[in-house]
């Protein structure tokens, strides 16, 4: 059974189809949650809540291909993560002067493995990490991010630049450690 059939059956309330959808999509969604939330246990809880909402509101979902299911579920997961972060942390950050845009160290990141990149992102402070994820990975604009996090647009930009700076620092640190290990 492909995703379209599974979605149709799950819409009708078939528990088997719902379980198949969960098995197919849970790993990808778990990665999304892990990018936003540092704790593995919290990520799991968010994943459960996200799938619960997904199945509960599946009847109102209009299927437009496999990508639409994935996109909708991802949106649910991101919203759940943001809700969780809002409940735990405050995104009210003072608006700072808009700094010059710092380029993303893409080449340096490409040299790293997937888990190393994920660790670098997870180690960022909450505000930096959230804005970085939303802007760089999900592709939201600063205006959308400012609305989602209820912060100023300038704040979103400054948070992103700080996140990039910190990433660069951490990459250099990693490179140095790597170089030291190589030299030994």
């Amino acid at each position: 059974m492909d995703i379209s059939e599974l979605t149709r059956e799950a819409k009708k309330g078939s528990a088997a189809a719902q379980k198949c959808l969960f098995d197919l999509l849970s790993d990808k969604m778990m990665l999304v949650c892990r990018r936003y939330v540092k704790s593995y246990e919290d990520s799991e809880e968010i994943l459960l809540d996200g799938f619960y909402k997904f199945f509960k509101n599946l009847s109102s979902f209009n299927y437009h291909g496999e990508a639409s299911v994935y996109a909708w579920l991802k949106k649910i997961m991101i919203n759940e993560c943001l809700m969780f972060l809002r409940s735990k942390h405050s995104f009210i950050i003072a608006t700072e002067q808009q700094p010059e845009e710092i380029p993303l160290p893409g080449d340096a990141l490409n040299k790293l493995s997937a888990s190393e990149i994920l660790n670098l992102i997870i180690e960022l402070p909450v505000g930096y990490r959230t804005v970085f994820n939303l802007h760089v990975i999900e592709g939201f604009t600063h205006k959308e991010i400012s609305r989602m996090l209820n912060i100023a647009e300038g704040t979103s930009k400054s948070q992103l630049n700080k996140a990039k700076l910190l990433l660069q620092k951490n990459l250099i640190k990693n490179d140095n450690e790597y170089a030291r290990q190589q030299s030994k």
Binding site: S26, D27, L48, Y52, L109, N110, I137
Partner: protein, 236 residues
């Protein structure tokens, strides 16, 4: 440019690929699914019903409290300064000791009764002296004859001298006789309790278990500033 973008986006693609993250893959999907399934098919809790019951309980408690405090009806407390009583005379043969001191009682009457008596009230000079217990019948007859307006209730006939039965004589309403309380004849005065003190302070009549407490009547001659505590069984 597009080549550079593609190379820059490689790491993003890696981040979306679950196969690159062996550590992050969910270990026990079945258990997680069970939790989701349980959550999906859980019966909705009747929160509204719970609130309904709580509100109902609160309402009942409120009504009960209001009923308790509002239906605390005011008692007709007897005012000590103006008592209404029924004097009961018992057979003389059995009451020798009680009527043995007529002069004392006469004195008490003279002290307590105000001087402005109405017509038909007992003149203290006209009261016969009790010297012998056998003369009690004649004394009662003379009192009755001198008080025409008194309500007399008697079970015994005047002629039946051999069997004198208890007789209740209601005194005239205007006549004020002093009531002799237990306290005045040497009974120990009860220590005022907290409630009594409260009643004394605020001038409110209270009833405590088996006793009635009376607030002092200011301005009366018998007011000594003390609360009067009487047991319910008391005839006064």
């Amino acid at each position: 440019m597009s080549m550079q973008d593609n190379s820059q986006n490689n790491w993003k693609i890696l981040l979306e690929d679950p196969q690159c993250f062996q550590d992050e893959i969910l270990n026990d999907k079945n258990e997680l699914w069970e939790r989701i399934h349980h959550k999906l098919h859980k019966k909705p809790q009747h929160k509204v019903l719970t609130w309904y019951w709580m509100a109902a309980c609160l309402l009942i408690i409120t009504i009960a409290l209001v009923a308790v405090f509002t239906t605390n009806e005011k008692k007709d407390y007897k005012v000590v300064s103006s008592p209404s009583f029924v004097k009961t005379l018992k057979p003389v043969g059995t009451q020798n000791s009680s009527i043995a001191t007529p002069k004392k009682s006469e004195n008490i009457l003279s002290q307590s009764t105000p001087k402005s008596h109405t017509a038909g009230s007992i003149e203290k000079n006209n009261l016969p002296e009790l010297k012998k217990s056998g003369e009690s019948k004649n004394i009662i007859d003379s009192i009755i004859s001198q008080l025409p307006q008194l309500a007399i209730t008697s079970t015994a006939t005047a002629n039946d001298s051999s069997t004198l039965k208890p007789m209740a004589i209601a005194p005239p309403s205007k006549k004020k006789l002093r009531v002799v309380h237990l306290n005045e004849i040497g009974q120990p005065v009860e220590e005022p309790t907290v409630n009594n003190r409260f009643a004394e302070k605020h001038g409110i009549g209270w009833r405590i278990i088996n006793a009635e407490i009376y607030n002092p009547v200011y301005g009366s001659s018998t007011n000594n500033g003390l609360l009067l505590i009487k047991p319910r069984t008391s005839s006064n």
